[in-house]
């Protein structure tokens, strides 16, 4: 197969776009498309300060690289969860991020270590809570969202960017559709405006790329990323939905893309799910100040971590 632009041997064939490109033209294509969708969805401008949440995985490092190449003012945020899982998961992920930055010394990285800041790592902290006993993911996700919002707010960033790709979005959409979670469907969108209460504006500049395409970008760009998954993600629903979507995609190229784009189109043109957009009043949490739906008391993050610290004390003994 030949590159459509230069007729050299292609490195990547995107069946959903009927487009094959050589390594060099593929790199340019990904960068140009990212720019195009940042502009089309008015995600941010050249003067905005962007905080990229980087995990060490392919999508977030690829995103940071592309934003940097495009000349955006993008800093990185790495959240150290302290997950070991027998594979030293968090330390190895952090090493990938630090190696990425070492090759690009002009980039600024902020590291937040959960155990240092909050008193316990994952999953030990989640184990101590009522909601995280079985699986750490709900406590972990909520904690990460809180830390991201705080870092964006404290650092004076205009926007928080995550590396979610089209497969992530399509898998979420499939999950929410199978259970008709209209509230979630109402909120799913590649750009979420800032909230008056102080929640950062959130954008997903890679939402149009297949997971295969962002992985290909890291390979041809020579970006070394954390290949292993978090050990707690093994039977995540999202992976199951992604596999199902990939089966459809193999038989009918473009299925995933159309599934998600037509959902967006329905939201944009016929205001689908708009009535499910509940206007919950958010109040500042008396403890941390972040907006919360809890009218009389601290937010979920503060309550959960308060529980962790109380139980840590009873576990370890008050003298320590």
């Amino acid at each position: 197969m030949k590159c459509r632009k230069c007729r050299q041997t292609a490195a990547v064939n995107m069946r959903h776009h009927r487009l094959a490109l050589c390594a060099g033209h593929y790199i340019t294509w990904i960068q140009e498309q990212t720019e195009r969708f940042i502009k089309k969805y008015r995600m941010f401008g050249p003067d905005d300060r962007v905080l990229v949440a980087v995990s060490g995985g392919k999508d977030s490092l690829a995103l940071w690289d592309v934003l940097d190449v495009l000349g955006y003012r993008a800093d990185g945020l790495y959240i150290g969860l302290g997950i070991d899982g027998g594979v030293d998961y968090s330390n190895r992920s952090r090493a990938k991020v630090e190696a990425f930055v070492a090759e690009r010394p002009h980039l600024k990285l902020t590291v937040v270590d959960v155990a240092e800041e909050l008193g316990a790592p994952m999953p030990a902290a989640a184990d101590l809570t009522n909601r995280g006993k079985e699986k750490p993911c709900s406590v972990c996700g909520m904690t990460r969202r809180h830390i991201m919002n705080r870092a964006a707010h404290d650092g004076g960033y205009d926007v928080l960017a995550t590396g979610h790709n089209l497969d992530d979005e399509a898998a979420t959409l499939l999950g929410n559709t199978l259970s008709w979670q209209v509230g979630y469907l109402a909120r799913q969108y590649p750009v979420l405006p800032a909230d008056a209460g102080g929640l950062a504006r959130k954008v997903k500049p890679f939402f149009r790329f297949y997971e295969r395409d962002t992985a290909a970008y890291t390979l041809v760009r020579g970006i070394d990323y954390m290949y292993d998954e978090c050990p707690y993600s093994v039977d995540a629903n999202s992976i199951y939905y992604k596999e199902i979507l990939n089966r459809l995609e193999t038989d009918r190229p473009g299925t995933k893309l159309q599934f998600f784009l037509r959902f967006l189109h329905a939201k944009e043109t016929s205001r689908a799910f708009a009535q499910a957009q509940t206007d919950v009043t958010l109040n500042p949490c008396p403890s941390c100040g972040q907006p919360t739906a809890n009218p009389a008391g601290p937010c979920t993050f503060c309550r959960t971590w308060e529980q962790v610290r109380e139980r840590l004390v009873t576990q370890v003994g008050p003298t320590l």
Binding site: N13, Y227, E229, S233, I239, T250
Partner: protein, 76 residues
């Protein structure tokens, strides 16, 4: 795990495909896309790297190729 894609008996020319901690055996002469499918994997979920270079699905497997399939799915 071994997948003798292409032929029932293992020929001395068979090529090894590495995917995570699994290994498959395929015959030279077939496309990488059909090799991936015959090994029970989805072409949509892997990227074929041959001799260190990313290739498209129509690439014809040659003798002495070193083939790795990079999984693209991440979860959580």
């Amino acid at each position: 795990m071994t997948c003798h894609a292409g032929r029932d008996t293992l020929s001395p020319m068979s090529i090894k495909i590495v995917y995570r901690d699994e290994e498959f055996e395929v015959e030279p002469g077939m496309t990488i896309r059909s090799a991936v499918l015959k090994c029970g994997l989805l072409p949509e979920a892997v990227l074929p790297v041959v001799n260190g270079k990313l290739v498209t699905g129509d690439y014809i497997i040659q003798e002495a190729d070193a083939i790795k399939l990079v999984s693209v799915i991440s979860g959580g």
